[in-house]
């Protein structure tokens, strides 16, 4: 076996070490690659920008700490954008372990804008069963949700005086979506009502509630199909979308910082793929 053929049998542990180094180094020594904003992220930004001061939105963290590096930056960026417009936020959690993530994201964004817990934002924590609590909250949020993540009932949270039901008082739903349950539940139960209440429309929604989704990279292909069909109103695609959103709000943070590492990591994988193909073609030629 000559040197070229060896390229198709590289020990995977070498690949792992090279990958770790290629991802870690740019985090320590930033390269500041330029990032171009995509039309999807700009579209999502424009949708959130239509909110008026005093509006109440629901931000759902449908992810756990494993997807945190990809979905935490857009969560903070969108929260910052909302707070800059004096929009109030209800933090919801479709995934159990995502409750603290939403708390951290909203606390981080609130600190920059002097927003107060209970007045400008609350975090509900994980409510189960998910589908039933969403369905019940469409008509009666107080009865369905009862209390926030600390167990404080809604009569002790000033913000909730203006939020009695999703269909009357919710102006937008933003979902950080890492899989199921997540955006699918909101789309099914809230995002596809008929427009006008009437005798043949038991939903009785007075308006369609826009749904903006920030998804992990694996979900992008399915999310784009939903965006094109109008099921999603806006899409922040993957970790790159989070970085782009940070640039749009002029507040580059961890999302932008991670893009250098993503570039070098991808480059490392592509180089190994090329080496593997060189080895494969060399072995075919010698055979």
């Amino acid at each position: 076996m000559n040197i070229w053929e060896r390229f198709q049998h590289i020990d995977v542990r070498i690949i792992y070490v090279v990958l770790v180094v290629s991802i870690a180094l740019p985090l320590l020594f930033p390269l500041n690659f330029p990032i171009e904003v995509s039309k999807e992220t700009k579209g999502a930004y424009d949708v959130v920008d239509t909110l008026e001061p005093g509006d109440i939105i629901i931000m759902d963290s449908a992810y756990n700490p494993g997807s945190g590096p990809e979905l935490y930056p857009p969560a903070v960026a969108i929260a910052r954008h909302a707070f800059s417009k004096d929009v109030r936020i209800i933090g919801f959690n479709s995934w159990e372990l995502g409750a603290q993530m939403m708390q951290r994201a909203l606390d981080a964004a609130a600190a920059d804008y002097g927003k107060e817990y209970g007045v400008d934002y609350i975090v509900l924590g994980y409510k189960r069963p998910l589908a039933a609590t969403i369905r019940a909250a469409i008509n009666d949020a107080w009865g369905a949700w009862k209390a926030d993540i600390n167990g404080t009932t809604f009569d002790n949270l000033p913000m909730m005086a203006d939020f009695r039901s999703i269909k009357e008082d919710c102006h937008m739903i933003v979902v950080m979506n890492a899989g199921s349950p997540g955006a699918g539940n909101w789309v099914t139960y809230v995002g596809t009502p008929s427009q006008n209440p009437g005798p043949n429309n038991p939903d009785g929604f007075v308006r369609t509630i826009p749904i903006v989704v920030a998804c992990v990279s694996v979900e992008i292909s399915g999310a784009k199909a939903s965006l094109q069909s109008g099921v999603y109103t806006g899409l922040v695609p993957g970790g790159r979308g989070g970085a782009e959103y940070e640039l749009l709000i002029n507040h580059p943070a961890t999302g932008v910082g991670a893009m250098d590492a993503q570039s070098t990591g991808h480059l490392a994988i592509i180089l190994f793929i090329i080496l593997g193909n060189i080895g494969y073609l060399a072995s075919r030629r010698s055979a």
């Binding site: 994980y126 009862k146 926030d148 167990g151 139960y189």
Partner: protein, 119 residues
């Protein structure tokens, strides 16, 4: 000091999990089992403080909605699945859940489906 401890803990646990890439070992298994234990109890704690405790304190004990106790009894039937003699009772809450999901799924699902088709 707590911050230093936190940092060391995070680093040790990260390398314990990554050690699986070399080969399976006791450090990875312990980190994995710690994660399973913490994750399982985290959900229970959240559900207790967010919903169950306020429901019992406010709705049942204060407002007197004793009908909720019947519903809770129905939910408790789920735990009979661990006893072979009473296992058939656990099928009742399962049947209710499945019927609930199917009812709404069939009623609402096609609207989303048709919106995708319309695209």
């Amino acid at each position: 000091m707590m911050e230093t401890l936190a940092m060391y803990l995070a680093v040790i646990l990260t390398f314990a999990v990554w050690s699986y890439l070399w080969k399976e070992n006791i450090a990875f298994r312990i980190a994995e089992h710690i994660y399973v234990g913490l994750a399982a109890s985290y959900g229970v704690v959240n559900s207790w403080h967010n919903y169950l405790k306020p429901t019992i304190q406010n709705d049942i004990l204060t407002d007197g909605k004793y009908g909720y106790l019947l519903l809770m009894l129905l939910g408790l039937l789920m735990y009979t699945r661990y006893n072979r003699r009473w296992l058939w009772l656990s099928r009742i809450p399962i049947a209710l859940e499945v019927g609930y999901g199917i009812g709404y799924g069939l009623a609402i699902g096609p609207r989303t489906y048709l919106r995708s088709v319309n695209a």
